[in-house]
Symmetry: C2
Subunit: 361 residues, 2 copies
């Protein structure tokens, strides 16, 4: 049984570029909202997760942040009412390119409007309205979710008392744009993508998604981790072949199995839209400089966590975010962590992340 709830947003939702949409937003909750509704924590996700951040009675399967959310855990469901939304534009219940356009009864595909991080943020405000939450205790996000949390904090300043930004950035910079742009081009170059008109029942451009996922994994982890973990170990089932290609090394086998698990589970067009939304995000849009953009913030405090080995959202960007927040927010903590798993550390290096999050809450 799924714990996911589906909210049909009433009326017309206006997107950043002016398009109107009647979206559904999928979300899950854990814990109990206080009568004063002052203990709500909103979590925005990275590009690929669903709203199923943790297990619950309704859905005991492990969530993507299982170690972080639950009774006695850093995001303690005995104290907080946790809400996690599936991003607008994604494919796990929220409306996106794979959803049916009510006007045509066909999937939107490439007729879905240009998606921005601000749209994802704004759509979540309807979930809060629905749940009777005027003001959040904290808004939390990692990676793309950190961008979304920041966009939410900028566009809904009065709803935000605290911000936790993890391995994220206030704006997309060209190295990350180049990586994501190349992932999208790889998917679009798969003949089975068919200009977005692929047969989703057959998973569409699986080769393109496989290659894009591998590139993602390379950018999500670190060379330092892999040198320790794999070194030059040969793949178990693939003796070094006397042919030009194939899998020689353990690291290639690891990428292959990760890509296998991803393809088929994520819609290619949705991936393209969410990926580009990250490129388009620029916190400076609100004011010309981060400090100016942040002038309307009403936060009491903020926690910015970054990782030394993050090549996709480098620590320098997170330090810059923390410094800009400090101009306006009374209490800002910048916590650089020495994890070696790169950008993905917030999903795997729980020994470092749990205490950092716990200390803030």
């Amino acid at each position: 049984m799924k714990a996911v709830e589906l909210l049909q947003v009433e009326g017309r939702f206006e997107m950043k570029r002016g398009h109107l949409l009647s979206p559904t937003i999928a979300y899950e909750t854990w814990g109990t909202l206080t009568p004063r509704a002052d203990n709500a924590v909103l979590i925005f996700t990275g590009l690929s997760p669903s709203a199923h951040a943790a297990s619950s009675e309704k859905d005991p399967s492990a969530g993507w942040w299982e170690d972080m959310i639950g009774s006695g855990k850093p995001l303690d469901t005995d104290r907080y009412f946790i809400v996690c939304v599936n991003s607008l534009g994604s494919c796990f219940g929220s409306t996106g390119a794979a959803s049916l356009d009510p006007a045509t009864q066909q999937p939107y595909r490439l007729t879905f409007p240009v998606l921005t991080v601000e749209d994802i943020a704004n759509s979540a405000s309807h979930v809060l309205d629905h749940l009777g939450i005027e003001q959040l205790h904290t808004v939390v996000g990692a990676s793309m979710g950190g961008m979304t949390a920041l966009a939410f904090t900028l566009n809904h300043a009065s709803r935000c008392r605290r911000l936790v930004s993890i391995s994220s950035a206030a704006r997309a910079l060209p190295h990350a744009i180049a990586l994501r742009s190349l992932q999208r081009e790889i998917i679009r170059n798969d003949p089975l993508w068919q200009e977005g008109q692929y047969d989703a029942a057959n998973h569409g451009p699986v080769s393109g998604m496989r290659l894009a996922r591998k590139l993602g994994m390379i950018s999500y982890r670190s060379g330092e981790e892999w040198a320790e973990r794999f070194g030059r170990e040969r793949a178990p089932d693939f003796a070094e072949q006397d042919t030009p290609f194939g899998i020689d090394f353990e690291v290639e086998s690891y990428l292959e199995s990760h890509a296998d698990r991803f393809i088929g589970s994520f819609d290619a067009n949705c991936y393209l839209y969410l990926s580009r939304a990250m490129d388009l995000f620029d916190g400076l849009d609100h004011g010309g400089s981060l400090a100016a953009s942040f002038s309307s913030l009403q936060l009491e405090s903020a926690l910015v966590i970054g990782v030394r080995t993050d090549a996709l959202f480098p620590l320098t960007q997170q330090q810059a975010l923390a410094e800009a927040l400090s101009e306006k927010v009374p209490d800002v903590a910048f916590v650089p962590l020495d994890s070696i798993q790169g950008h993905d550390s917030f999903l795997v290096d729980m020994d470092r992340f749990r205490p950092a999050i716990s200390a803030y809450f």
Copy 2:
């Protein structure tokens, strides 16, 4: 007029994995060999360049290291006799997968034997024999060329008095292997690759080569450089489109034009062979540890140059190489440079590289 010379290696050349070949090796020379033949400098190239490292009377077109080689330049052709070889396995005159197999009068394609960096190194020794050079003044290489220079130094210890290794590594580590493996998979996934049986006259798998080159460029430069150079500048000819894809940012336009220049100029199968040769390279093959491998070296001195922002051949690997060399070689200089152009710095940051190379010579 081309300055390139072609040497048909006499007899059968035995490759590392035991295959026999009768290769041609293309090379160029600059300057004059002394009567004692003691002023020869051998240059190995990175994956993609030809032997045309610099202009000459015969071929006045600029070479790939034009700023480094010539009269009065760091590799001073008034003093040194410079030899640059096109790698065995490449497609600029030396025998590779695109060459005709004399046995069949058809291109080798995937019947070309597994290529190793050691094969590239060993094939160059025939060029030295032909030129009457018993012992080199210095062997120089950057990137894959640095691996090749090291392999040459290990396999032909008595011919090497000095080594200059630039932005290279003593062994391939998994992050770099993953990037190259993915580039190869991208090329092989292009339907026009046709299991290597593509029509070379029509340039074969151009989409795959385009995408692989873009991934190469991302790994060759640094996020720090691109943040300074491009920031979030929009592409000139591509106004931000209200469609999901296309080129929005200057960095995407830059990658597009670089890829345009590359495709068509490099044979896809040759690229695959050379790329995998780098993955297979392990200086420890010679002794189980670098220090043990280096025990037979007869070098008088070595210079190891690395760049702080190199993500493909990180500085830590180059420091490790310098330290291992120090165990055996009397005079080893390790020069870390603060260039921001990443792995490609040796091709573009001449203000830092010229003095470093000059000081050694």
